[in-house]
Amino acid sequence: MARLLVTPATGALPVTAGGMTLSLTDPGCITSLAPWRGAGMALSKALRAAHGVDFPDPGRISTSGTTRCLWAGRDQAFLVGPAPDSAALADHAALTDQSDAWAVMRLDGPGARDVLARLTPLDLRAQVFEPGHTARTLLGQMNAVLSRDAANGYEIMVFRSMTATALHELTEAMKSVTAQGGADPSPG
């Protein structure tokens, strides 16, 4: 399988500002799973047998070791990490290799939520968007997949062709939040 590199657009990473770090991650394979009509339960069973994860509920992530299954839309999830066991899954879902379609970054550190709040309309408060939650939403004008995996840790997926724009938007927001005194002290 050909692997296109996101490196040229992300050469500046990691970027740090005010205790926050924006870094590039290598998620491994990203495979879109779109169950055939009525095959959702069968797909979830096959996923559990083959990869140890379930087909996630909306907005959730099913995790087993380094394998993750992110809900990615109506009747769609992304298997992230291993190459998919096509023989086990293809009877139940359309599988599409999207490994090279996405740039995957992380934003960690106090104030990460405030940075994202400048770019996304998503409600990022902890009681709504907890660690372990994921959402398809907007980052600036870009479609993105945002996942929260720690109190101050977020994974950001954008279309690979938009990497430079995402990097610019996030870096500027990090500088701005830092310049204005850092993280919002309110809880969540």
């Binding site: 907005g59 109506r74 309309p121 998503l122 409600d123 959402a135 907007l138 479609n143």
Partner: protein, 90 residues
């Protein structure tokens, strides 16, 4: 304005694309008279009050939604997946 997507929860209006009246779900028979197709394609009410429209959650889950809202009070009264709704009657 926020729309509560049945899958994603309450989301900002920016994530949604407006399509038009939910009458689009009520497609006439292919051999229906021209007047029925004319009505379907071109003739719309402009209610001051409740209206049912199709919205696409384009920056979210990708689902088509039927949103009932009030054009006077701007209340969003109900949101349902368009999938499975026949004839636009909800």
């Amino acid at each position: 304005m926020r729309i509560t997507c049945p899958l994603c929860g309450a989301r900002d209006r920016r994530e949604f694309h407006y399509m038009g009246d939910a009458v689009y779900l009520d497609r006439p028979d292919p051999v229906a008279p021209a007047v029925a197709w004319d009505d379907y394609l071109h003739l719309r009410d402009n209610p001051a009050g409740e209206t049912r429209d199709l919205w696409f959650h384009e920056a979210g889950c990708g689902a088509w939604l039927v949103v009932t809202r009030n054009t006077v009070s701007h209340d969003v009264l109900s949101v349902a997946l368009a999938d499975g709704i026949r004839g636009g009657a909800g």
